[in-house]
């Protein structure tokens, strides 16, 4: 569960481009993705042995191994072959594999990239299969997660796990600075940041990045809390330079003075290291980070805690993200591939993969599981994250031009963080750029 703002680990950052060279490929092309799975009744079992390749960065996780073993013993004719890729290279590798005509049959991907692959006709439209399934119900998913995998009113992926973002804070630093409780409002957040900042001691309130994609990504929660939006629902109108958005941006940029300047041009990986090393007292991250802290930084156990993000003028707001299971349209065994992702998507298996997993700290994207008392009983740390889910907003815009627009937001906010323009100017400039791109 290490992804999104890619956790660029020191070793795996190794020129992602070269990794793509080591891939396998087959013939190009691939039929239409809508006719797969057409038919009635249960999807047939393959009559002769088939192998389904499954690309993910979780193939080595014990829970995944167990799930796959269970599946294989129930379906003796289907063999699952893992293709393990580091999370931060997954997108590029899949892209190159699709280009080379040899994508895996099934992949575990960052749910937010589903639309991007679907828009390029790389994925199987799952509507036919879902219609025939007793297990997978389109309505059972938490709406925000369903949005991730929906493109052109069809589902192209099955949400598999998810998370919201919350405020991680160092209880030891809070105590030392005389702060008794985590901030619940913007003014409290600013006050805490101020108290935590002491450059002479190398401690700071929070982390701030003027780089891409961090500059925009960490602004979004403030935007939601102020009641702002990125684009109109039809994607044609730019809304991120509204008055609410400007309030959010001004507050956000102001927080740069309580951040280590050294990481302005760095990435979130360094920011999280800084949190673990006690260099920053507060850090906004998804629930997966709780698991990472426990695994990799046992020495700070008991020195950190999690709180919901502070509320803004429009109430609570948090950025959500998740992973999804998808099937590639160039795959040859769509029915068997479906059998596999259908199996993984059974509620008990989703629960096993998310909150019931030993080290896992992700949330189930299925409403009934998310609201069940079983979840809080099993993993108390997830309580705040699960509660924040209703005010979850996705930062993903299903628009092929969005990466360029987001790049403009990044670049302009970065200039504001470096003091070259005001936050309001930044948003206006980015909006002007965005309007040019949308036209």
């Amino acid at each position: 569960m290490t992804h999104r703002l890619s956790r660029r680990s020191l070793a795996t950052v190794v020129a992602t481009t070269t990794a793509a060279l080591a891939l396998a490929a087959c013939s190009t092309g691939g039929g239409s993705s809508t006719d797969k799975g057409a038919g009635e009744g249960p999807v047939p079992e393959p009559s002769s042995p088939v192998t389904i390749s499954f690309a993910s960065w979780v193939g080595a996780e014990p829970d995944m191994k167990t799930l796959v073993d269970t599946f294989q013993s129930a379906h003796p004719n289907i063999k699952i072959e893992f293709q393990n890729v580091p999370a931060e290279e997954a997108n590029e590798k899949l892209t190159a594999q699709v280009a080379g005509g040899n994508p895996p049959d099934v992949a575990f991907i960052d749910a937010s990239t589903t639309a991007q692959f679907a828009a390029r006709k790389a994925l199987v439209n799952l509507d036919n299969y879902i219609k025939r399934s007793d297990v997978v119900k389109a309505d059972a998913y938490v709406p925000a997660f369903k949005t991730f995998v929906t493109y052109d009113n069809s589902m192209y992926g099955l949400p598999f796990d998810g998370e919201s973002t919350a405020l991680f804070y160092r209880t030891d630093l809070f105590q030392a600075a005389g702060i008794t409780a985590p901030p619940t409002t913007w003014p409290e957040y600013e006050e805490a940041a101020k108290k935590l900042t002491d450059p002479a001691k190398r401690t700071y309130g929070n982390a701030m990045f003027a780089s891409s994609p961090e500059a925009a990504y960490y602004w979004y929660p403030w935007l939601w809390q102020a009641g702002g939006k990125l684009l109109s629902d039809d994607g044609k109108q730019v809304l991120f330079n509204s008055a609410e958005a400007k309030t959010a941006a001004e507050f956000y940029v102001k927080m740069a003075q309580y951040a280590p300047k050294d990481y302005l041009n760095s990435n979130s990986y360094d920011g999280r290291q800084a949190f673990a090393n006690g260099q920053v007292g507060m850090y906004v991250a998804g629930s997966w980070f709780a698991g990472t802290l426990g695994d990799e930084f046992p020495q700070i156990d008991g020195k950190w805690s999690v709180a919901p993000l502070p509320k803004g003028s429009a109430g609570c707001g948090t950025t959500i993200a998740g992973d999804a299971l998808v099937m590639f349209s160039q795959g040859k065994n769509a029915d068997a591939a479906w059998k596999f992702i259908e199996f993984l998507s059974q509620p008990e298996n989703v629960a096993q993969w998310t909150y019931k997993s030993k080290a896992g700290t992700t949330l189930p994207p299925i409403s009934s599981l998310l609201e069940s008392p079983d979840l809080v009983a099993t993993k108390p740390i997830l309580k705040g994250f699960a509660e924040a889910m209703p005010c979850g907003v996705s930062n993903v815009v299903a628009n092929p031009d969005w990466p360029k627009i987001e790049e403009a937001i990044n670049a302009e906010l970065a200039k504001a963080i470096y003091g070259e323009q005001t936050a309001a100017q930044a948003l206006d400039n980015a909006a002007a750029e965005a309007e040019k791109i949308i036209r």
Partner: protein
Amino acid sequence: MWRERSAYGFLAPGLILFSIFTVFALGFAFYLTFREWNILEPEKPFIGLQNYQDLLHDKDFGRSIINTAYFTGASVPLGMIIGLAVALLLNQPIRGRGILRTLYFLPTVTPFVVAAIIWKWLYNGDFGLFNFYLLKTHLISEPLVWLSDKNLAMPAVVLMSVWTSVGFSMVVYLAALQAIPSDLYEAARIDGAGAWARLRYVTLPQLRPSTLFLMVMGIIGSFQVFTQIYIMTSGGPLDRTTTMVYYIYEAAFKFYEMGYASTLAYGLFVLLLVFTVLQLRLYRRADV
């Protein structure tokens, strides 16, 4: 006649491998410059010269050329001059030459990615070794934030690159120094040339093929600088270190505009080709 034909025979293995693996790929990339391709879809619609027109109006690409020129202009001469100086000193009859040579050469054989990661630590504003020693020796009074400072980021990347390239120039120069026949020095000495004159009129002219090599390779290599940028600055802060290849990389793998990325790459190619032909010409005129 036979001897001429054997020359082609000697070149054949290289030429064949090159045509299969390199020239064909280059041709395909050239074909893409007239196309729009997002890598994922098989369709590559023909768009004529659109990519080339976009290139001419791309201000960001223009800035990346300036950044690249800054990087090249600083790192190539520095690496060569320091490499030459070290090679000249190491060519003296001193003890421990082998060890010293190895020490200077270590950075060159350190994998580039690893080197970039170490230097990122060294430059860390709060915990880096650079600031530690600079503060300790009172050369600075406030910590510098090297890679996050608009004006220091590029010099910081240059410094790191020079560190990795000195060993290379040194080895090339050393090999060439050892090949200079000692009778040349004898003759110069008999003519009454002092140490300086021998360096100026014997050593340096003899090193010209190596100098040409290092310059051509240095310019080709540093015009394509990527790894350091990717790891240490990601093109920031505020695009101050966005070099041409980093920009091309973003076009290809961030925005999936393979056709445009290929066009940019050919822009870079033309620049480099002109530079290289000019250098080879200048040297030929100077009779090397």
